[in-house]
């Protein structure tokens, strides 16, 4: 009761404070000041806005523009091609396989990363000795650039490499890994997961810290066990950080390029030809910029749809 009374007093006070500001007509001086504030805000924002327009908006439109152009190698002329590049892509069986590989890769990889990084976060937020050290060790791969890590993985995964030596030592048969069309994509997935887990784990740990301790105390008083607390308190309250990780991770995974370029060049038999590598191959190796940019536009649309769906799920979750 006392609390309600206090709240209405605050509301009254607020209303009283609002009234004088709302009543008199806005003077010219005030309007001038408002305009000056806006100008100042724009000035301060200008570097960021210019950077955003030149480095994000312009390239986006130029991608769309170039995706309707075609280069003739024999005449060296670039001509308007309408939707020809899109027609070529959508009827090309190589591109169908690129899409399939990319979608399958993402459907498996991203949920796996969310689940594993949450599990790691839960584990490393327990009261265990040297927790800071373990967290740092898990995080280290995220801090090493992909181009440095990839060649190390390539050596470890080669048929007579470290990983197979370990497999043989424990009595398992050696695996072809990157040289087999049935294992190459999986091997790249493992590499990416290894690099990403620590990074995304940090976000989940931050989410865990936001859950009020009192909820756990109350639940324990009510006799809830560890699993019950996990499913009734921790996971529901982790939905937002987990959704963020899923969305950010999906965008990142669609843009994976370096491991493919360094390790497999899309092979064997196109099994690791993820869309970013195919774009690079079309635009920069083959020199077919039109088709490369059409692929960029297709990728943007796919990502926009996926991110929109994920945002929608996020909103429904919060209801």
């Amino acid at each position: 009761m006392a609390d309600t009374a206090h709240r209405s007093a605050v509301a009254l006070n607020d209303a009283a404070a609002d009234r004088p500001a709302a009543r008199p007509p806005v003077t010219r001086a005030k309007r001038r000041r408002a305009r000056r504030d806006t100008a100042l805000a724009f000035t301060l924002l200008a570097p960021a806005l210019v950077a955003m327009v030149t480095m994000r908006v312009v390239p986006m439109f130029s991608a769309v523009w170039q995706s309707v152009q075609q280069l003739s190698l024999s005449q060296g002329r670039t001509t308007f091609a309408g939707l020809e590049n899109y027609r070529f892509l959508l009827t090309n069986s190589d591109f169908h396989s690129v899409l399939l590989v990319t979608l399958v890769f993402n459907l498996v990889l991203n949920p796996a990363i969310v689940v594993l990084s949450t599990a790691l976060a839960l584990l490393l937020s327990q009261r265990i000795p040297w927790v800071g050290l373990w967290r740092s060790l898990v995080f280290v791969p995220a801090a090493v650039p992909g181009v440095v890590v990839t060649p190390i993985w390539s050596t470890a995964l080669q048929p007579d490499g470290l990983v197979n030596a370990v497999l043989r030592a424990v009595g398992l048969p050696a695996q072809p890994f990157l040289t087999s069309s049935s294992q190459a994509l999986f091997s790249i997935g493992i590499m990416v997961t290894w690099g990403a887990l620590g990074y995304w784990m940090i976000f989940i740990i931050a989410g865990l810290k936001d859950i009020p301790e009192s909820l756990y105390e109350v639940a324990m008083l009510d006799g809830a066990g560890w699993w019950r607390r996990l499913f009734s308190i921790t996971l529901p309250l982790l939905r937002r950080p987990m959704s963020f990780v899923l969305i950010a991770c999906t965008v990142g995974s669609f843009l994976i390029f370096a491991p493919v370029q360094i390790l497999t060049k899309g092979g064997p038999n196109g099994s690791t030809n993820l869309i970013m590598y195919d774009i690079y191959n079309n635009a920069y190796q083959i020199g077919d910029l039109g088709v490369g940019q059409a692929e960029v536009v297709v990728l943007m649309l796919i990502l926009a749809v996926i991110v929109a769906i994920q945002f929608r799920l996020l909103r429904e979750d919060s209801k």
């Binding site: 190698l73 670039t78 060649p151 080669q158 064997p268 970013m276 635009a283 910029l289 909103r315």
Partner: protein
């Protein structure tokens, strides 16, 4: 609806972020004012060409040469983009990769250098080095550097396996079949970790001689791609079997092969002149033989490196020609251009000095290095085909080689490559 707009904005923003990440590219512009400053675009670090520029500027105080160093992966697209602009993007001279001269010429990028043709031919180690850049009867670029391929072997490992070393006489190369048989002996004796390595797996540069030697031609003729022909099938099956029989490893990337030979882990290595440097650095007991060929076929060896052309849109044609002449036809300039990269110069006098130096550095093992290279350059070097759309053909061919290395049936891989490359070629005509 506030939430709706905010969400739309967020989706849009995410889209923008993605778009930005996908398409970042920039363009610059050079200046073309009264003073003679030449801009030379190339795909090497600045230090590589600094020496020849210094030498040229010392002799031509009125001309300054500025470099535009572009990473290799973006080089062709940068040239395409800048030379398509009105003023040629401020570029006066640019490096021309083997195979792309036809495409650059068709796009109107390359100035006619025919008045330098006679001098260039007279100066070159072999006339076909110049001829390969003649299109429609016009010389459009001049090669500054060249390469060849050798069969290097580790004597200690061959002795261990009881394998007789290949002869170093350039007219008596081994056949690829002999090489495979020797490699099998090395493997059977467990004398080396790897019996045989190519320096550059899965590249057309490295493997073109195999197809040519087996009678399959270049694999492309006009817009017909033919890796399915009997000659190429013979070459590709031989390549396929290297890995099936375990004579050569899968899954090893091209940055490692030279180092593996240098560390004494491979019995045979087919590699360029740089293989000599690696063998010497590894203090190996090694030898050098000519590149093998297919029994019954004709010897064929990989060759070529960067050429340099002049922009058809340059305002400084005479100065640019002076610089190009110094870089290629002048022995001192040509030697300076190749010195930092430690690569083979194309000028015959520069070549002689280079070969003598390399042979001296290699000691007894390398005494035939210069002879083999000169013989191969003059007698059986095969240039990459002058075809429209070479830039489409090469990546497709490389992909096919990689699939075959990983075990795909050569016939199936070739059929797939033939049709897929032809489809792409048709688009770009």
């Amino acid at each position: 609806m506030k939430t709706y707009t905010r969400r739309t904005f967020a989706v849009l923003a995410a889209g923008i972020v993605v778009a930005g990440a996908l398409t970042g590219c920039g363009s610059g512009s050079g200046d073309g004012d009264g003073k003679v400053t030449l801009t030379f675009a190339n795909a090497d670090p600045a230090a590589t060409w600094a020496k020849v520029i210094e030498g040229f500027e010392a002799k031509n105080p009125d001309i300054t040469v500025k470099q535009l160093n572009v990473p290799y992966a973006q080089f062709t697209s940068t040239i395409n983009q800048r030379l398509s602009q009105g003023g040629g993007g401020g570029i006066d001279l640019f490096a021309v990769d083997t195979g792309v001269a036809v495409d650059f010429y068709n796009r109107g990028f390359l100035a006619d250098l025919s008045d330098m043709r006679a001098d260039a031919t007279a100066a070159a180690v072999s006339p076909d080095m110049v001829e390969q850049n003649v299109i429609d009867g016009k010389l459009v670029a001049i090669e500054a550097w060249t390469t060849s391929q050798f069969l290097y072997y580790n004597k200690d490992l061959l002795d261990k396996a009881g394998v007789e070393a290949p002869p170093s006489d350039p007219t008596q190369p081994w056949t690829w079949e002999q090489l495979a048989a020797a490699a099998e002996k090395v493997k059977a004796a467990n004398a080396a970790q790897y019996a045989f390595l190519f320096d550059q797996w899965d590249t057309y540069y490295q493997l073109q001689p195999l197809g040519v030697s087996a009678g399959g031609g270049n694999g492309i003729d006009g817009d017909q791609v033919s890796f399915s022909n009997p000659g190429w099938q013979r070459a590709l099956s031989w390549y396929h079997d290297l890995f099936e029989k375990g004579l050569s490893p899968r899954g090893i990337t091209n940055d490692k092969n030279g180092a593996l030979f240098q560390e004494g882990k491979a019995a045979f290595l087919v590699s360029g002149p740089w293989g000599l440097t690696q063998a010497v650095a590894g203090k190996l007991n090694f030898g050098i033989a000519p590149e093998p060929y297919f029994a019954g076929g004709k010897p064929a060896t990989s060759t070529d490196s960067w050429s340099v052309g002049i922009s058809a849109k340059t305002d400084n044609l005479e100065a640019a020609k002076k610089f190009l002449r110094y870089m290629t036809i002048d022995p001192t300039g040509n030697a300076e251009s190749a010195e930092v990269a430690a690569i083979t110069p194309t000028n015959r006098h520069a070549y002689e000095r280079y070969a003598a130096k390399a042979t001296a550095a290699g000691g007894d093992a390398a005494k035939n290095f210069g002879t083999i290279m000169e013989y191969q350059l003059q007698n059986n070097a095969i240039h990459r085909p002058s075809v429209v759309g070479y830039s489409v053909f090469e990546p497709g061919a490389n992909k096919m080689f990689a699939d075959i290395r990983n075990g795909t049936d050569p016939k199936k891989a070739a059929e797939q490559a033939d049709s897929s490359i032809e489809d792409q070629l048709k688009r770009l005509k």
